[in-house]
């Protein structure tokens, strides 16, 4: 879901370009996004409602609100909000995607197929064709469903759901050999997850209780030079334990493998920052802030980094943006005042 949140922010920024916001709207959206990140959807929906109270025409807040409602299982309300977004911002394949998924949830397979099918060639999210395949299968069209699930397996090769559904589809069509291959893939991916779960538990425990040298050995089991998610996870575990120097290498590898991973960039920036290597922190944080411009944590850290580097002119607008995202942060306010006062003196 948070991956979708990240994408939504980019979309929302696109939708809102050129629109002036009343004071406070951005702060509510930012807080809502943070709460969604933490999967606190009830609280997040409250923030978006407050944003919408200030500006009911803001499509970003309405879109986030709709996704929140969908996450809360309030599907009818979510549908109404998505329709509103469409009225405010025009046709959007993202909105079409969500409406298609809502159709699927309400067992309206024909509508789900129509909507998801209309965006399948240029899918807003990689799982679009997966849901399209599921809609076809659920409607009884196993052949067409299989076709889309096969496409989904190409787009999401490590998604066990896809392989399981595909195996079932092959099986029901009597294609046992292909089914068997997909079941094997599914089982392999599930086993990997289970092993990773065990390794994460062991690593987390070792970082808590053992010397770093011992913990490093235990945590190395998670290391996979070809898997950016495992690398990011490893970096995150080290970072959460305060072992920032250890976090650097896996995170550096992760951003190389997946340059669009907000988490990897952000955590890499944080690690450099905490190691006081501000010059090296700048680029990852810039990348993170570009990927998630409304994520307060990245923006404020980027401002702080620029400030530490003495680039006050560059720091000022970034911190001003951070302040808009979180006006209650007195420390940001204080730094901003300091920077503005310095400018006046000059």
């Amino acid at each position: 879901m948070t991956q979708i949140v990240a994408a939504l922010l980019v979309i929302a920024v696109g939708i809102s370009q050129g629109q002036l916001q009343r004071p406070g709207v951005e702060a509510h959206i930012s807080r809502g996004v943070q709460l969604m990140q933490d999967q606190l959807f009830e609280a997040a929906s409250g923030e978006f409602e407050q944003a919408l109270a200030l500006n009911p025409e803001d499509p970003r807040a309405r879109l986030q609100f709709a996704v929140c409602l969908l996450s809360l299982g309030r599907n009818d309300e979510a549908r109404r909000q998505f329709e509103q977004v469409r009225k405010l911002a025009g046709e959007s394949r993202y909105v079409t995607y969500y409406l298609g998924r809502l159709d699927l949830l309400s067992n309206d397979y024909a509508s789900a197929i129509r909507r998801l099918g209309s965006v399948a060639e240029d899918p807003p999210f990689p799982d679009t064709v997966f849901y399209l395949g599921v809609a076809y299968i659920s409607s009884g069209d196993v052949a067409e469903g299989t076709k889309w699930l096969e496409r989904a397996a190409q787009l999401l090769p490590r998604d066990y759901r896809v392989h399981y559904r595909l195996a079932r589809a092959y099986s029901s069509a009597g294609r046992e050999q292909k089914a068997s291959r997909e079941y094997d893939l599914y089982s392999q991916l599930r086993d990997e997850h289970k092993n990773t779960e065990k390794d994460v538990r062991a690593c987390s425990s070792a970082l808590r209780t053992e010397p770093l040298a011992t913990a490093r050995e235990v945590c190395h089991r998670i290391y996979d030079p070809n898997d950016p998610e495992k690398l990011t996870l490893l970096g995150q575990l080290f970072g959460d334990a305060g072992a920032f120097a250890e976090a650097l290498e896996p995170l550096r590898q992760a951003v190389q493998l997946d340059p669009n991973s907000f988490e990897a960039w952000h955590n890499l920036g944080v690690s450099y920052f905490r190691l006081q290597r501000y010059g090296e922190a700048r680029a990852p944080l810039e990348k993170a802030a570009a990927l998630r411009p409304e994520f307060y944590g990245s923006v404020v850290l980027l401002g702080a980094t620029l400030y530490m580097l003495g680039e006050d002119d560059a720091a000022l607008p970034v911190l001003e943006h951070a302040h808009r995202l979180n006006p209650n942060d007195t420390e940001t306010t204080a730094v901003l005042e300091k920077l503005r006062a310095g400018r006046k003196k000059e």
Binding site: G73, Y160, Y164, R201, S204, D240, N267, K338
Partner: protein
């Protein structure tokens, strides 16, 4: 220096240290940590407890407005079922064994045509609890029961879990097999109102300590004698497993709770062959049952799920893929859970399998399955589409609206005699400690009833079936049967550290019914494993004679078919021996007894 101080203060007060490490986002890793909360919280959930998948309920549709003709009243107290079922401490559960509870059974141990009641019991770690024992209640045929435990020789206190009822020695009287920790027990029915513990003589005393949970009698090799399948949950010992609060990984929603099953060691199930001389032989390895990966096995149901005449065995596993042992007809089984679709849900996610019900909810003549799970997840309703392939139709059937409770014993049973089997399950939390911090995770929760609307759609009835459905308890086992012989299905429920519930069903609305009792001759006398298909009013409903159902429990062996407006029904009977018989034109509202190879040997009209 000035900037250093500024930075320190800046980062300290913005709390960056606490939250700036962004959460993982990819679904795959969210799956590792489970959904429903932030990654760091869900991580510990996964490490310490049962699988809570964070599934949110689907929205409820508009009520159908159709009347529901079943009405339930808890008559346990009036019926004399007043002794509480002791199972661990009432307000906390320091060990997983204290949270799992036990089963119940309806049986006719004295063959008088009236259902008696057998209740299992637990104990407490600190020592024996006065009055806590498994209990046998004899039906007085007037709505009340008499406790005959002592007279029957069944007084026993321990960690009993599951019960299966069946006539393993074909002497015409139902025997009892009970699972538990650290040993299982076989009671032979002496036919005079008493039972004898023959576990050791029968060769069923196992070395060491095991935690037997689900169990079922099953004639897997069609030799006319009931064999025995036992699922084992996990390697448990009070001395080996840390109690609540001792392992930081064992918490739920941030509250320390008992450890397991994740993080503990799962066990394999076992199969014992009935040698026909009162003894059993462990054939776990020889039969292929032992080849399956160890899982956290709980409920077990044996039935011929693919209609090939051989009994298959389905095991609900907790937080690991459930197992389906397909009977190959040569004395061996192959595990086909994944291929059948019964191991996981439709997205390939394993669920916390607790109870299993078998029945034909869509009246297409095939046996379907319902499996209950942990809270924040749906149950799984599997539609049998033939050739041992099942479709997960949970969401399509409207069951996704209910995700609030931990589900246990369940049934696919026609409660209102409208000819369409309904769905029922009992609920109750495993962590009483949690509700103190999170009142929304109550320890005692209501029963769940979904009425069958036809067309494979269900509607949850929150208040339309009597107060007894909405009453909150922490329940585990459930058995269905007509204890008052009035032509409907009543419900017996185990409640943790409370007396059981006996929900008397008073059906109005005039729906007809037919009860079928089978007596095996070439098959085992209990006819366990037989499948009866009733044709009525254009429907074709299959039911199996089961020795275990729901959660570690056993129901009325007399099959109950609601017929709706139909006044007659035809029957097709597939006996476990392989013999097929038909009975045509049976009038509604009677109990018919059919003897294998003979036909109808008894008719009894009651409930009118």
């Amino acid at each position: 220096m000035h900037r250093q101080r500024g930075l320190f203060k800046f980062t300290q007060h913005t709390g960056l240290e606490d939250h700036h490490y962004a959460r993982m986002t990819r679904r795959e890793f969210l799956a590792i940590f489970a959904a429903g909360a932030t990654s760091s919280i869900t991580q510990t959930q996964q490490l310490g407890g049962m699988a809570s998948r964070g599934v949110r309920p689907q929205p409820r549709g508009k009520p159908s407005g159709l009347p529901f003709h079943a009405h339930f009243t808890d008559v346990a107290y009036h019926a004399g079922l007043r002794a509480p079922v002791v199972y661990g401490p009432p307000d906390r559960m320091d060990y997983i064994i204290e949270s799992m509870g036990c089963g119940v059974a309806f049986l006719d141990y004295d063959n008088d045509g009236w259902l008696d009641i057998f209740l299992l019991s637990g104990t407490r770690r600190e020592g024996p609890v006065e009055g806590a024992t498994n209990r046998l209640y004899k039906n007085n045929r007037d709505g009340t029961f008499t406790d005959v435990t002592t007279k029957a020789g069944l007084v026993r206190q321990g960690w009993a879990c599951g019960v299966s009822v069946g006539d393993y020695n074909n002497d015409g009287f139902e025997d009892l097999f009970i699972t538990g920790w650290p040993q299982n027990i076989l009671y032979r029915n002496n036919g005079d109102g008493t039972f004898t513990d023959v576990t050791e003589v029968a060769g069923l005393l196992h070395p060491g300590k095991r935690w037997g949970t689900g169990c079922t009698w099953v004639d897997y090799d069609r030799d006319g004698r009931l064999d025995l399948f036992v699922s084992n949950y996990l390697d448990f010992d009070f001395d080996k497993i840390p109690p609540t609060g001792k392992d930081p990984n064992c918490n739920f929603k941030g509250v320390p709770v008992n450890c397991g099953p994740r993080g503990l060691f799962p066990e394999r199930p076992m199969l014992y062959h009935n040698d026909g001389d009162g003894t059993f032989t462990d054939v776990t390895a020889r039969s292929g049952v032992g080849a399956a990966a160890p899982e956290f096995g709980l409920a077990v149901v044996a039935a011929d799920l693919d209609g090939d005449g051989w009994q298959d065995i389905y095991v609900a596993c907790d937080s690991t893929p459930s197992l389906l042992f397909h009977n190959r007809g040569d004395g061996t089984f192959s595990e086909q859970g994944l291929q059948s679709g019964l191991a996981v849900n439709e997205d390939g996610n394993e669920q916390a399998g607790m109870g299993i019900a078998i029945g034909d909810f869509d009246t297409d003549g095939r046996l379907d399955a319902l499996k209950t799970h942990f809270a924040e997840d749906t149950v799984a309703l599997y539609r049998n589409i033939g050739h041992l392939v099942f479709d997960d139709v949970t969401l399509r059937s409207g069951l996704g609206v209910e995700t609030r409770y931990v589900g246990w014993g369940d049934g696919i049973v026609d409660l209102d005699n409208d000819g369409l089997p309904d769905l029922f399950w009992v609920t109750g939390s495993t962590f009483p400690e949690v509700q103190r911090k999170h009142p929304e995770y109550a320890h005692k929760t209501p029963r769940v009833l979904f009425r069958n609307l036809g067309g494979s759609r269900f509607e949850e009835l929150l208040n339309a079936a009597g107060e007894a459905i909405a009453e909150a308890h922490s329940s585990r086992g459930v058995a269905f049967g007509d204890f008052d012989n009035d032509g409907d299905l009543d419900i017996l429920i185990m409640n943790m550290n409370e007396p059981p519930s006996l929900l008397r069903n008073d059906v109005r609305g005039g729906g007809h019914w037919l009860k079928v009792k089978l007596v095996g001759t070439r098959s085992n006398t209990s006819a366990i494993g037989a499948v009866v298909t009733a044709m009525y009013g254009g429907r074709r409903q299959a039911q199996a004679v089961l020795a275990s159902s729901g959660y570690l429990s056993c129901g009325d062996r007399r099959l109950h078919f609601g017929l709706g407006t139909a006044t007659t029904a035809d029957l097709e009977i597939a006996w476990p021996s392989g013999v097929h018989e038909s009975v045509k034109g049976l009038r509604a509202n009677q109990l018919v007894t059919v003897k294998e190879g003979v036909g109808v040997v008894g008719r009894e009209r009651f409930g009118l």
